[in-house]
Amino acid sequence: MSPSARRPVEQRPVRVVSAHLSLRQRLAAIWGARELLAYLVSADVKIKYKGSFLGIMWSMVSPAMSIAIYFLVFQVILKNGVPDYVVMLWAGMLAWTLFSTIINTATGIIVQRSGIVKKVAFPREILALSTVGTATVYFFLQFIVLAILMAVMGHAPAWSELWLLPLSFLALLLLASAFGVFLSAANVYFRDTAHLVEVGIFLWFWLTPVVYSYQRTVAPMLGAKGLAWIYLINPITPIVLTFQRVLYGQTSVTATTPDHSAITVLPEWSALHYAALNGLLVAIGLALFFWAIRIFGRLQGNFAEEL
């Protein structure tokens, strides 16, 4: 801490406070705060389950409950006949839960952390991105539980297509971050954004083939009229399909219904087709993410006074 150890004024980093910062400057600032991001994520995980008996396993309760309910409804009551349906369900829910958790928590984060926003200067995007980090932690936890479940059931994934998973995961993260960053800023100015988002996410869930099969319901209905693409505009659909394709591992199976008919549960696209779809989504996600950072940058100047 001696004065000699300090850099001369001319060599110190220069920070300019002004209403106009370029996208590059913003991204550099975010990168510079990555350690803070890691710290916020670990603090988040720590707070949430501090002092509770099951600890972090609580994060499993809510997704496990929904999976149990959908399993009961679709398999037991509606008898959809998909063998190892729980794997199919879990694979789709894995992707969907990551997406919806990020959107739901990121939207409110700036308002929720107004105490910090009003007192400390740091790239505010970090707050939105911290919710991405936290959700990702839970994602991996659920992923591990699914892996264990599959091992116990003896259900093998499509090993040769496993490489699609990181690609799809990347697309999902980029898309969710883009939406999350944008919505977190919007919610500062319009506080009912959070409510709208909740409703929107609920509808979006049912527009995404997570609990029902794209191939058996959507494709015959819309596909017959050449309108299947409408469904694929929803960027989460290809991602969910990829997760199911890789983790469930089969496209055609023998139904568990008494007639043991052959059913096709997933589109029979080639791995390259999946890769192309996901690659496109990565590109779109990246573009949206940069756009969201730009908008955020324009809005964040007034955060401290709007809160």
């Binding site: 850099r7 004024v9 100047g301």
Partner: protein, 382 residues
């Protein structure tokens, strides 16, 4: 000298809404701009702070001090103008450093340190130092929501000073700790100064500004009305504080028609003896006849105010032109030392400063007996 902080033509305008449309629903149902009025809190503020300087920011409530500091820290963005900061900056804005109530003191130290840009490894290495400085060893694993406001500030200050930034920005927080901790903070700030680091400090305590700062700026209704030596700036601040809100407040004293020219000890030297009478002469020039009261301040060498006394009970009449006043301190109960003297003349009601001279003389006090401290007590033992 290269400047470390450069404030250039900064303006900050807040939008005030009579009724705030905070939701999309309201925006849709009540289109149009809403009934926003604009409040300009900072206007064309420019100054720069050199390496190693300690700058005080003075101004009365609502003059925009905190807003200025928030802009410098980057919490707020100026509406116009630009601020350039060279090097790392740590800010202590109002209460607390943005702690997370649910987290323990330990976690908050890491969190706020990483917000100040410290690496984890660096925090590991200074963690004990931070805790020792804050004296919160026993509470460091308690969630900070159970901390008192003093404890909050202690921890925040400890993190900020241990982070050893190039620039430290402090907004009044020092007023919260108890006296002993305040003294400790002052020591640390002085150490900071001797390290050659730069400090920006908001304080309502003019004496503190005078003792700590090399320079000070004064804000009045969002405008910079003085950027001068601490003593000079304190004088301007006093005038604004005492002056009524009207036009008088924006003048810096040029139109005041009273000037203190010089002082001189009656015996020739400016030396006094403890518990004896000390008399001096001062020459005052007035452009028009005016009533005034004499004010005298003494500071010790550490810059602490020892005494401020005014004679508003017995105002004097100044006539136009030059005149000599004879001022007597009837009994000076100070032990030996050298004391800085400021004198001034205020209006009889004490509301307006007519003339003020900072550090016009040094009063040497000689004490013949034994004793220590600052004040001589007369003992009577039977």
């Amino acid at each position: 000298m290269t400047s470390v902080v450069d404030v250039a033509n900064v303006e900050k305008t807040f939008k005030l809404y009579k009724q705030r449309h905070k939701s999309l629903k309201d925006r849709v149902l009540h289109p149009g701009k809403g009934n926003a009025t604009e409040l300009t809190v900072l206007q064309d503020v420019s100054f720069s702070v050199g390496e190693g300087e300690t700058i005080g920011v003075l101004g009365r409530n609502g003059s925009g001090k905190s807003t200025l500091l928030k802009c410098i820290c980057g919490v707020l963005q100026p509406t116009a103008g630009q601020i350039t900061v060279r090097g790392d900056l740590a800010g202590l804005l109002e209460l607390g450093a943005g702690f997370q109530p649910e987290l323990s003191g330990r976690d908050n130290v890491y969190l706020s340190a990483s917000m100040l840009g410290l690496s984890r490894r660096k925090v590991d290495s200074v963690f004990d130092e931070i805790v020792a400085f804050s004296e919160l060893e026993k509470f460091i694993d308690t969630p900070v929501k159970f901390f008192s406001s003093g404890m909050y500030v202690r921890l925040g200050f400890a993190v900020a000073v241990t982070a050893a930034p190039d620039v430290l920005v402090v907004d009044e927080v020092l007023a919260v700790g108890d006296e002993r901790f305040q003294a400790k903070c002052m020591d640390r700030i002085r150490q900071f100064q001797s390290d050659g680091r730069t400090i920006l400090l908001v304080s309502h305590n003019a004496d503190q500004v005078r003792s700590l700062c090399s320079r000070a700026v004064v804000l009045e209704k969002g405008r910079l009305v003085a950027d001068a030596s601490a003593g000079e700036a304190v004088k301007v601040f006093r005038e604004h504080l005492l002056g009524t809100q009207e036009s008088k407040a924006t003048s810096t004293g040029e139109d005041s028609d009273v000037v203190i020219e010089w002082v001189r000890g009656v015996s020739g030297s400016f030396t006094a003896r403890t518990n004896e009478r000390f008399e001096f002469l001062t020459n005052v020039r007035a452009s028009a006849p005016v009533e005034g009261a004499f004010v005298l301040e003494l500071y010790d060498q550490a810059g602490r105010l020892v005494a401020r006394t005014d004679a508003t009970k017995s105002p004097i009449s100044l006539s136009a032109g030059m005149q000599e006043l004879n001022v007597a301190i009837e009994e000076l109960p100070l032990l030996d030392g050298a004391y800085q003297m400021n004198i001034g003349i205020v209006s009889p009601d004490g509301d307006t400063v007519l003339a003020w001279r900072e550090q016009i003389a040094v009063l040497e006090v000689a004490y013949v007996g034994r004793g220590a401290g600052q004040v001589a007590l007369r003992l009577n033992v039977h």
